[in-house]
Structures are given as C-alpha cells and as structure tokens.
C-alpha cells in the first residue's frame, strides 16, 4: 500500500526528469490523462461536475472497505492529466488521510506555473471536492461504527454520495448520515402521497434543511453549518417546532432579524405547526462550532 506521501514523492521524481522541458512535462501530463480510464457515461451527471473548472470535470466517488475510491474525467486531455495526478495520489486512501493530505507535489513540481489562473482555481476546486467527499465518507464510517457499537441490528448501508448531497448537507452528513441520503425521497413522498405521517425525526430533518437556506449576511456559509443552531425540537402530533439559536456576537446587527427569518423559513413547511425561535448567548458562539465543511469553505483548514 503506497502512502500519499510515497506517491507524491514518485511524481516529483518523475517530473524531475523533465527539468526545464515544458513540452516534456506536458507530454507526461497528457499521457496520464490518456491512461486514466474514462468515466462511465452514467456518472457524467451534472451532480458530478466539479464547479469552478473552466473545462468540464466530472468526479465520482464512493466508499469501499473504509477507503475512498475516486473516478474522474474531463473533456480536455490536459485537465484530465492533472486530475489523474490527484486521483493517483488520493484514490484508495482512507478518508482521514485524504482529508488531512498535504499536497506538496503541487509546489514541488511547480504545477501552478503551467496553469492559467483560471485553471489554478479549477485545481483548487478539484482538491476541495475530493476532500469534501473524504469528509462525508469519514462521518459515514464513524456513523456505522457507532451504529455497531450501539448494537443496532439493522445493517446501515453505506451508500454512494453524490457531490450535491455532500455540498448540500454539511453538518448533517456528520451527524445524521443515513437520514440525509433519504431526504430527496421523502420530499417526493410528500408530493405524491400527500398526507402520509412523518416521524418527528423526519420533520426535524426537513426543518434542518429549511434552516440551511438562511445565511448570516456577509458569511457565505449557512447558519446551520456556522453552528448557530443549538437545538431543534419537534413536538408531535401537531409538530410544533422549537429552535434555540445564537448569533455570532451579541452586538451582531442581525441579532433581531435572523431568528425571525429562521421562524419564517421553517413555517414554509406545511408539515409543521407553531414555530418558536429562542435566541440565546449561552454558550456564546465560537469558531469551533462550525462544521468542518464550513471551516473548509471559509478557509480555516
């Protein structure tokens, strides 16, 4: 088993052969691109497109025996070669190792000097997406382990995540994975079957999703992932909802409006009854309350 560091070392050595020979380096990258197997058409979905890349890049990932498998493709060979470098390094590694990987080869082979600034942003987007997958799978695996520890008989399937699920769900991936991957189905159920009874846990998921549509102005991460929501309670049978939340600082200008916005958002759900939102500063909010995805998004890693 090659470690992330080993593989990077090998790449840096390979590149050293082309010192000062830009065309040679490109030939190497192009060959990598050609060697990387094409992604099966069924995975070339919009969900799998890595946003922020100038050419189209698809990234498909799933978990297998505690490792993350990456499969990727692009409509340009050079881009594909660059993804191949990343795939060769990060494929078949554990989520934790991927998440914590320091991709030193990028600087060591001076990769960015070959890339236009747009392309360089694309490279960042790819790395970020791969780490997000790792984060998602890490929590799934933890969840599984917890489930086993709790001796829950029902086997929890580790399913494939799509990029969107991970992007959309942040914290809930960490806290409540098996529910998350079902949520789309549930919404469909709501539309087709109409009045089917929902469990408080399901309602809570839906409330959570709604709250994720609320943003603290100027922070590009929703307030749920920011860690502003301390408590969500659903009281059947009327499904009245109680939310306890905070804002980032007591003198925050949105201290008054944010709870109202949260209440109005949650009220948009047909399934809930009364909604009560309580603002608290106990405990005060702290950066550590952000989800890992939020930290990644805001550049805290």
């Amino acid at each position: 088993m090659n470690t992330i560091a080993d593989i990077q070392k090998q790449i840096v050595e390979d590149f050293a052969l082309f010192e000062g020979d830009a065309m040679g380096q490109y030939e190497y990258i192009i060959d990598l691109g050609k060697e990387l197997p094409s992604l099966d058409e069924q995975y070339k979905t919009d969900d799998n497109i890595v946003k922020g890349c100038q050419s189209t890049v698809w990234l498909h990932a799933f978990e297998e025996d505690g490792k993350v498998r990456f499969f990727a493709d692009s409509n340009t060979v050079i881009t594909k070669g660059i993804i191949a470098l990343l795939v060769n390094i990060l494929d078949n590694q554990t989520p934790t190792n991927i998440k914590d990987a320091e991709l030193t080869f990028i600087d060591n082979i001076n990769l960015r000097s070959h890339l236009s600034s747009q392309r360089s942003n694309g490279l960042n987007a790819m790395i970020k997406q791969m780490k997000l997958y790792a984060l998602g799978f890490e929590s799934k695996i933890n969840e599984n382990e917890n489930a086993m520890k709790n001796e829950i008989k029902e086997t929890v399937k580790v399913e494939e995540l799509t990029a969107n699920e991970i992007k959309g769900n942040g914290n809930s991936v960490v806290s409540d994975v098996s529910d998350v991957s079902d949520i789309d189905d549930k919404i469909v159920v709501k539309e087709t079957v109409g009045d089917e009874m929902k469990s408080p846990a399901q309602i809570e998921m839906m409330v959570t999703e709604k709250i994720k549509e609320v943003f603290d102005p100027e922070i590009p991460v929703n307030i749920y992932e920011l860690g502003l929501i301390y408590e969500i309670q659903v009281y059947p049978p009327l499904n009245n909802v109680f939310v306890k939340m905070t804002v980032t600082a007591p003198n925050c200008p949105v201290a008054d409006s944010l709870p109202i916005e949260v209440r109005d958002k949650v009220k948009e759900l047909n399934e809930v009854g009364e909604v009560d939102v309580e603002l608290t500063f106990d405990p005060p909010w702290d950066k550590e309350m952000m989800s890992e995805e939020a930290k990644l998004e805001l550049g805290f890693f």
């Binding site: 065309m23 490109y26 050419s55 340009t76 060979v77 050079i78 881009t79």
Partner: protein, 410 residues
Amino acid sequence: MVKAASNKITKIKQQFPILQQEVNGKPLVYLDNAATSQKPQSVIDAITNYYTKYNSNIHRGAHYLAEQATIEYENARTKAKEFINAESDMLVNFTKGTTEGINLVAQSFGNTFLEEGDEILLSAMAHHSNLVPWQIIAEQKKCNIKYIPVLEDGTLDMDAFHLLLNKKTKVVSLGYISNALGTINPVEEIIEASHTFGAAVLLDAAQAAPHLKIDVQKLDVDFLAFSGHKMYGPTGIGILYGKEKWLTEMQPYQGGGEMIKEVTLKGTTYNELPFKFEAGTPNICGGIALGAAIDFMNEVGHDFIQKQENEVLAYGTEALSNIKNLHIKGQAKNKAGVLSFIIKDIHPYDIGVLLDKMGIAIRTGHHCCQPLMDAWEIPGTARASLAVYNTKEDIDRLVEGIEKAKIMLQ
C-alpha cells in the same frame, strides 16, 4: 514587388517592441489580435509624451498645459472623424470602448425612443457586448428581442433577416465583422432594408476598425462603435459615432462635469454635442494615443493592411485546411482576419495550451459568443486572428505547432 511588400512588413514589425521577445524560449508569434492588437512605438511614445510633457485636465484650465492637452485631445477626435468619414467632430464621442458605446446607445436611445412592444433585432453570432445591453433595456422598456439566425457557413441568414424586419423593429444592432468567425456581414443591405422600416442601425465595428476602411456616410449607418485597443491603440478608449438627428434628441447617458452647460439647483442645461455624452474627465491620454494609432494605420495605408491580411488569411485558410481532421468554422466568402477552427476529438483548450508552450499566442473558448457555440454544439473553437504584422511565416509556425500538438494529443 513581393520582396518590397515583405520588406515593408519587416519594417512594420520592427515598430512593435513587444513582438521582438521570446515566449517560452521561442520567438513570439502573436495571433490573438481579435482580442487586442499590439501597439507600435509611436503609440507608446504618444502615451509617454503626454505624461512627461503636458498632462493636465482639458476644456477648463486656462494655462499652457491645459491648452496643449485640449488641442491634442480634440485633434485626436478630428482624426477619428476622418478615420470613419463622419460629417462632423461633434458626432464623434469618446467612450471607453465598444462595450460602452453600445451601452450608451441602448440606454440613451432606448430611454428616449423605445416603447413597450417595440422590437430589437440582433444576431445570434453577436458578441456578448452587443446582446446584454439590449437585453437590459428590453427588460426595462418591455421590448422584444429577435435574433437573426446564423447559417452553417457562419453567415447571417439574410432571408430570415428580411422576414424578421417589420414596422415594430426600432433598432437593428449587429457586428460589422464577427469576432468569432471573421464573417463580414452584408451591412449595406441590412442598413438599407432597416431604414425602409424606420429602424435605426448600430454597427459594432470593434473588429472592422482594424481591417476595413470605414465610411459612416456611405454606409448611412445610424450608430457605429469601436475600441482603440483592437486597432493598435491603448485600452480604455473607443469611439461612438451617431447621426446628429439621434444624438441631439437622445437623453444623456451619464451626468457629471463636462456634459453640462449650466447647472442651477433647479436643473441643468446639457452641453452641446459631443460633450453631452462625455460626462467626467475623459481618458485624455487614451484619446491622444488613439489619434497616434490612427496615424499609424494611415501611414501603413488601408489598402496595404487589407491586402497583406487577406493574403495571409488565404494562405492560412489553405494551410489549415490541409491539416487532417481540422475544420475551419466560419467559411464565409467575405471574411477578415480570423481563422477559427476545431479539430476532431481534441478540445480547443488543449491545443491552445500546447501552442502557448511553443510561443504561439491564440485564443480558445467561446469568444464571448456563447449562443453561437451552443447552436453549433461545440465547446468553443481555437482562434488565430491577424493584424498587419502577421506573416506567412507566422502561419507556418502555427501549422507546425498544431501538427505537433495533434501528435501529442492523439
């Protein structure tokens, strides 16, 4: 004869300091002129001169430098007027470029003359700068936009154009030459037909100004916009020509200094043309340097520029056509300065990157013509575009580069 021409090209090329360098270890071949052209020494000198000798604000100072700057700036306006054969200096407005010119007309003409239900006729191969300003005013004024389709060879569907034109058409706004394909549109026919329905015509001459001799009176065009930076001048300066009957009626585009005659707290009397549309301190240096660029083109001569570019274009068309699996996009008979191409199973971006490593600058992508690329279902093209300093040797380097890239990529 042939020898004399190539001597002349060598001399011209020597006037462009930037072309004398190596990029990625190879002598630079610059074939991205449709994006922006390089600048001759005379234009660079005009800029340096302005800032070293007579920088000052124009039209208001009563001192020597201000007088000097005003004279030079207004001189440049006269050069621009002659460049397009406008009736008078007052119809020649300085702008920051084509984009601003089109926005100015869309807003000022639109606010003054457009009414709900009116139609604006555009082309499916238009540059985004000739689409978006119209979409904005159309939304404000509840007007409808119609698009003239583009045929497979890259020419406008003129049958469709005549069918689309009707009494509700108030504006027809088109590119004189397409930047993505090089097609020279049949603008005389378009202008004449539009006028029979009372529609005003705006020509986006961003790509025409560096290649063709423009004559707004002969064209009888209502508005014409172009950018300095695509015709050997600096960025941030351009020209908008408008017919007097429109410009005098149109609302100003922006308010501020320069454009007013009298300001009281009750209101303002606008300054006369062309200052009515030139609010604020303009790009004085840019205007003067644009004048120098016009001088450069006049010295080289329009006939020579066209002859030279057409020769290289014909040579390039032939040479590229001989490359296996390469397809030239835009095969209009009437074309200027652009070789847009795709290669089977190769993404244009890959070609562009490898050519760059060989010191050859081209452009890849949709060239701000996304609707056209979408219609053709291609992600974009690779585009080589010419200026007067490009030679057949540049084409040879391009062809050699493409062949090499193809081998690497296939």
